[in-house]
Symmetry: C2
Subunit: 107 residues, 2 copies
DNA sequence: GCATAATATCAATATATCTTGATATATTAT
DNA sequence: ATAATATATCAAGATATATTGATATTATGC
């Protein structure tokens, strides 16, 4: 019950739905990229990304000081179906502003 | 976005998940049956049932003064997958206390 | 019509969640 | 070691949601 509720409540926020849609389109991005793209303050993003990660939707790959967030695959059926729904919503997303450089990191 | 969030937030409550599981097992029940089974006050149940209905999970069939709530079929893929998850949670549910009589009503 | 029963809605309080700004941690470069 | 950058966490206030008790609505039987 708790795990399911954690998954559902991760979905229960407009900001997090937009973040999922954005990461679904653009692949792995770090917090500063998202911060710049969405014009959001860092602590807010960090919190939402944590909730999405703990809800089983995202993975994090650390690369030096950067933390690259991306959709976690494979997703189970429920989360996968949720992502399909999100893809169909036609959400308006901001343009990607990419500041970070992967450099050595293999993502 | 709003419709999806309405669906998700309907799922985002322990009481409502239990109600879905209970109605999934027992079929159509009226508010007084649920009230008795769960030991909840009527206004609380009525509110949660309304949210589940507006979230697309339940239908209501009125029969005189009774309002019979049941899972709405067919469910779309996302809601159906949510219900599958709920079935797998192994939620402990109270025994059914059935007070209402269907009588003439065809359910 | 009047009384009773089932359900729905409202207003107030309690509880949880979100946002913000400040601070803490961690990594890299000098 | 110090400074700079990226991210995470914390505390306070703002907002949303849940619960309760009271009231309103609707249908039935007398």
């Amino acid at each position: 019950m708790d795990v399911f509720l954690e998954t559902v409540s991760a979905l229960n926020d407009e900001t997090r739905i937009k973040l999922l849609a954005f990461l679904d389109i653009h692949g792995a991005l770090c917090v500063c990229d998202l911060q710049e793209s969405f014009g959001m303050i860092q602590s807010r993003l960090s919190r939402h990304l944590k909730i999405l990660k703990e809800g089983g939707f995202l993975r994090v790959d650390r690369c030096g000081t950067w933390a690259y967030y991306s959709i976690r695959f494979p997703l189970d059926r429920f989360r996968s179906e949720a992502l399909s729904e999100i893809r169909c919503l036609g959400i308006e997303l901001p343009p990607l502003q990419k500041l970070s450089e992967t450099g050595d990191c293999k993502l």
